[in-house]
């Protein structure tokens, strides 16, 4: 047809600024995390990035991040899971009873707990996926059920302490063969290796895209972004290395993060979850078994909630009936701050992780500054609202 606009085959010659503008959401999130970090670093007179505090920051947020990985997939699939906090507490209770009261070895106990998490996820996902009962209701019920069961399993009392080997999950650090006195060399080396591996992966991905004639971000931009990124990881690992080294839980978290990001963005199952949340009818008509997929995302969520429960219990070294209270709200908030859409189909794994860190840094920073728990909540609530408003505004523009 003559009247339509001609094809523009060549990639748009966009400069760094234009690129930044069109990818505002992705980079905006990272930039706001940096701004928030710098803000609290200044406001707390440098306490935020002190090795001890940095280590605590990671330990405090690890279980939220682990759950955010699963929650992101649930939200992308167009659902929600309100029960994760309760499940977290319940699994911690079961682990405590098994290991403390029945003297189980920590390995079988951990495995049983993870399987139990999967079963819980399946039990809830079954109703959501195959009976089309709104996930909000199913998991609200689950929230009450597992909160109650945790109380029942513990018979209302705290159970602990855990065997020392199990505690290492949360309180242990990567061993240091070099036996550095002030600097854990092994941890620093691992940190730098991770940074290097990520850089290589990025450069190769870029070369691969270029080889297929796909559009890439501008070179300068790519370079600057990566230098900052690598620099941050290096500085981060140096700080950690000068305390006790890399915490075990950070390693677990990093591996999970990379795995989930890969699954969500690169594999067919990830694709299908986004299709399911983006347009369930179209997904079904494209041969995707939407019900089974929904079921799987809930099983996955259950397993991750169980893992988070174990991490949390190991960190406190005791299982209490109140463990996990309100975690679901932090986890869900992390996903939405990270750019997930409540209507499904939109959201990134790394976004949710950054979202969780934004919440974590704010918690930590405000506590150091001496802001009371009352106003902390107010501020976090407003940040969540602002982040989502920004998303909606961006979308309508």
């Amino acid at each position: 047809m003559a009247s339509t606009t001609p094809e523009t085959n060549a990639p748009a010659t966009s400069g760094g600024m234009a690129f930044l503008k069109s990818n505002l959401r992705e980079y905006g999130l990272l930039i706001s995390l940096v701004i928030i970090m710098v803000f609290f670093q200044v406001k707390t007179d440098g306490t935020l990035f002190q090795p001890l505090n940095l280590t605590n920051l990671i330990l405090q947020n690890s279980y939220i991040i682990v759950m955010a990985l699963g929650m992101l997939l649930v939200i992308v699939a167009g659902h929600i899971d309100l029960s994760v906090g309760s499940v977290c507490g319940f699994i911690g209770a079961v682990a405590a009873v098994l290991m403390v009261n029945y003297n189980w070895h920590y390995v079988p106990a951990t495995i049983v707990c993870l399987i139990l998490g999967g079963v819980i996820g399946a039990a809830q996902g079954y109703w959501v996926a195959f009976y089309k009962i709104p996930s909000f209701i199913v998991t609200l019920a689950g929230m009450l059920v597992f909160k109650g069961l945790a109380l029942a399993v513990l018979e209302g009392a705290s159970v602990g302490p855990f065997p020392p080997e199990f505690q290492l999950l949360s309180t242990g650090f990567i061993p240091d063969p070099f036996a550095g006195e002030t600097l854990r060399v092994a941890s620093l080396v691992i940190g730098l290796l991770i940074a290097l591996a990520m850089l290589i992966a990025k450069v190769r991905g870029r070369a691969d895209r270029a080889a297929h004639g796909m559009e890439n971000e501008p070179v300068l931009f790519f370079a600057i972004a990566n230098v900052i990124f690598i620099g941050m990881i290096a500085a981060f690992s140096y700080q950690l290395a000068s305390y006790k080294g890399l915490p075990n839980v950070l390693v677990v978290m990093l591996l999970l993060m990379l795995a989930y990001d890969f699954v969500a963005s690169r594999t067919t199952i990830g694709r299908r979850i986004y299709a399911l949340g983006g347009n369930e009818k179209a997904a079904r008509l494209s041969g995707i078994r939407t019900e089974r997929l929904t079921f799987y995302t809930f099983i996955n969520m259950g397993v991750l909630a169980a893992l988070a429960g174990l991490i949390f219990a190991a960190r406190l070294n005791t299982a209490t009936p109140k463990a996990g209270l309100g975690f679901e709200l932090d986890v869900i908030a992390a996903c939405f701050i990270g750019g997930a859409s409540a209507s499904g189909g939109v959201g990134k794994v790394l976004g949710a992780v950054i979202g969780a860190f934004i919440m974590g840094v704010m918690n930590n920073g405000m506590s150091i500054m001496g802001i009371g728990i009352d106003y902390q909540q107010v501020i976090k609530g407003l940040v969540l609202l602002a982040a989502v408003c920004f998303d909606v505004y961006n979308k309508n523009k």
């Binding site: 047809m1 748009a12 895209r209 004639g213 067919t268 694709r271 179209a282 995707i288 189909g345 939109v346």
Partner: protein
């Protein structure tokens, strides 16, 4: 003759550059039943939406004179105040509320915000008597049949002191007894002085009750027939409905038809929600290699239901019958199985069922056949890009690149992306449901060219369309579906719009 109750002159309305009404004149006399007929897309519904204020004044051109004064409705509320009530094809009743609550919904019998249920009840009873319904005013809508629901809609209209009642396809989903009861009621209302505009495809019903008929075609009035002056034959109406020039709007093709590839036998489908209703009543169908078979029929004939029930049973329940590919019975009980057997279904609703709008062209193109662009479940984005790029070139999809989000494309380009998706699944049988709905003439020609190309490559094409000229222009054979059964089949050479229309409008009678 007295002054007409309604006079619409020179009505014009466009949607984003597409003309829906170009020049419509409609005059309804006091106390008349005035039928409005025309093909799907002729502009009947748009005209009624203009009249009832759904499209407010200023959104269209032309003048509406009602009861002697010019009207400028800003919304449905304005037109209802004047006594113009429209009853849509999809009934606007709340299923889990009672008859009383539905009748007075938005018009509650209240004083100071407090509803007087006793008064409502008594008034409802009176209205139900008027429309000849013996139901308790407290009965829930969901427990009533469609026919009774239609009568409730009319009772609701009566409660608002209706002067001009507009019915859009009121008998489309009714059986014969219910239809007769409804038509009888219309005649009764006419005796009470209520004027009525009746939109219908069923010419036998129209000739039963109508005093005058206005025929619309392509958004313009082509004839106004007075049934009182002289009896109007169905032939005459049909000729007015379809009589358009057939220009060179379709690509030339010489069909090379081979052996039978795709067959459907004794296909029976029950309604997805009401299992007692049969939607498809024992359909037999076959398509040969390189053949384009058209399925004609009116809305609600069961065409999409037929296609979707074949394609992975995505519609209906209690489905029985056989699907054969190359003479062998195949299992199409899930979408994936249907795809594996080389069947593809291009939906009529590309936004609702075809695309994940938030995602890119490339992403949507590979969705139905992800395994072809992935290794060990890891998607090879480079390969995907190549595939999408090929289809973009081949189907001439206009976009900056294949990473454009599909939500930003025009209807024609979106349709091409959906086609790409299904072509990439490498089907032998393509079921195209309204492949050119809502896209402009130029893009239509491109879609036709693609379809012709596919047939030339030896694929079987089953094309469902409401636009008869399109079927006549493209197909080798046309089957006519009406009320869930095939009522006629024509080779392309013998088919005409008149014949197709006649087979539909007379099938109900025989």
């Amino acid at each position: 003759m007295a002054e007409p109750i309604l006079e619409m002159r020179g009505m014009r309305k466009t949607f984003h550059g597409v003309t829906a009404l170009s020049n419509v004149n409609l005059t309804v006399q006091q106390g008349q039943i005035h039928a409005v007929v025309g093909e799907n897309g002729a502009g009947k519904s748009t005209l009624m939406k203009v009249l009832s204020g759904v499209y407010p004044h200023g959104d269209y051109e032309g003048t509406i004179r009602y009861q002697g004064e010019e009207c400028r409705f800003r919304g449905i509320h304005d037109s209802e105040e004047k006594g113009i009530i429209i009853i849509h094809q999809e009934l606007a009743l709340v299923p889990l509320l009672s008859i009383t609550e539905n009748i007075f919904l938005g018009n509650e019998q209240a004083k100071g915000g407090v509803i007087d249920w006793n008064a409502s009840y008594v008034k409802t009873q009176a209205l139900l008597t008027k429309v000849g319904l013996k139901e308790s005013p407290n009965a829930l809508i969901t427990n009533l049949g469609v026919g009774k629901q239609q009568l409730i809609e009319i009772a609701k209209a009566l409660s608002k002191e209706v002067k001009l009642l507009i019915l859009d396809e009121p008998t489309a989903s009714l059986n014969e007894t219910d239809s007769d009861a409804l038509l009888e009621l219309l005649l009764e209302l006419k005796r009470q002085g209520i004027s009525c505009i009746l939109i219908s495809h069923k010419l036998n019903e129209i000739s039963k009750v109508a005093d005058a008929i206005t025929v619309l075609r392509d958004g313009a009035t082509v004839a106004t027939l007075d049934c009182k002056a002289e009896p109007v034959s169905e032939d005459l109406i049909i000729r007015h409905m379809v009589g358009r020039e057939m220009a060179d709007r379709y690509p030339k093709r010489t069909p090379h038809i081979g052996e039978t590839v795709f067959e459907v036998r004794d296909w029976v489908v029950h309604h997805a929600i009401h299992p007692e209703r049969k939607v498809i009543k024992g359909v037999n169908l076959h398509v040969k290699r390189g053949e384009i078979v058209g399925i004609a029929g009116l809305m609600g004939a069961g065409r999409t239901e037929l296609a979707m029930s074949i394609f992975g049973r995505t519609y209906g329940q209690n489905i029985s019958g056989k699907v054969l590919v190359h003479g062998k019975e195949v299992d199409t009980s899930t979408v994936q199985k249907a795809i594996d057997h080389g069947i593809a279904y291009v939906t009529e609703d590309r936004k609702g069922y075809g695309l994940v709008l938030d995602e890119t062209i490339a992403w949507n193109t590979t969705l139905a056949n992800l395994s072809a662009v992935s290794r060990n479940t890891v998607v090879d984005e480079g390969k995907e890009f190549g595939v999408a790029q090929d289809f973009r070139k081949k189907l001439n999809i206009r976009s900056p690149n294949v990473f454009a989000r599909t939500v930003n494309l025009s209807g024609g380009n979106q349709q091409k992306v959906v086609l790409s998706k299904w072509l990439f699944s490498e089907p032998e049988v393509l079921i195209l449901d309204e492949p050119t709905r809502g896209i402009d003439v130029g893009a239509k020609y491109e879609i036709y060219t693609i379809i012709a190309q596919l047939a030339a490559e030896g694929k079987c094409v089953l094309m469902i369309s409401s636009e008869m000229p399109e079927l006549l222009g493209m197909c080798d054979r046309i089957c006519v579906l009406n009320e869930g059964a095939f009522v006629a089949e024509f080779p392309a050479a013998e088919a005409t719009q008149e014949k197709i229309m006649r087979s539909i409008v007379t099938s109900g009678v025989n």
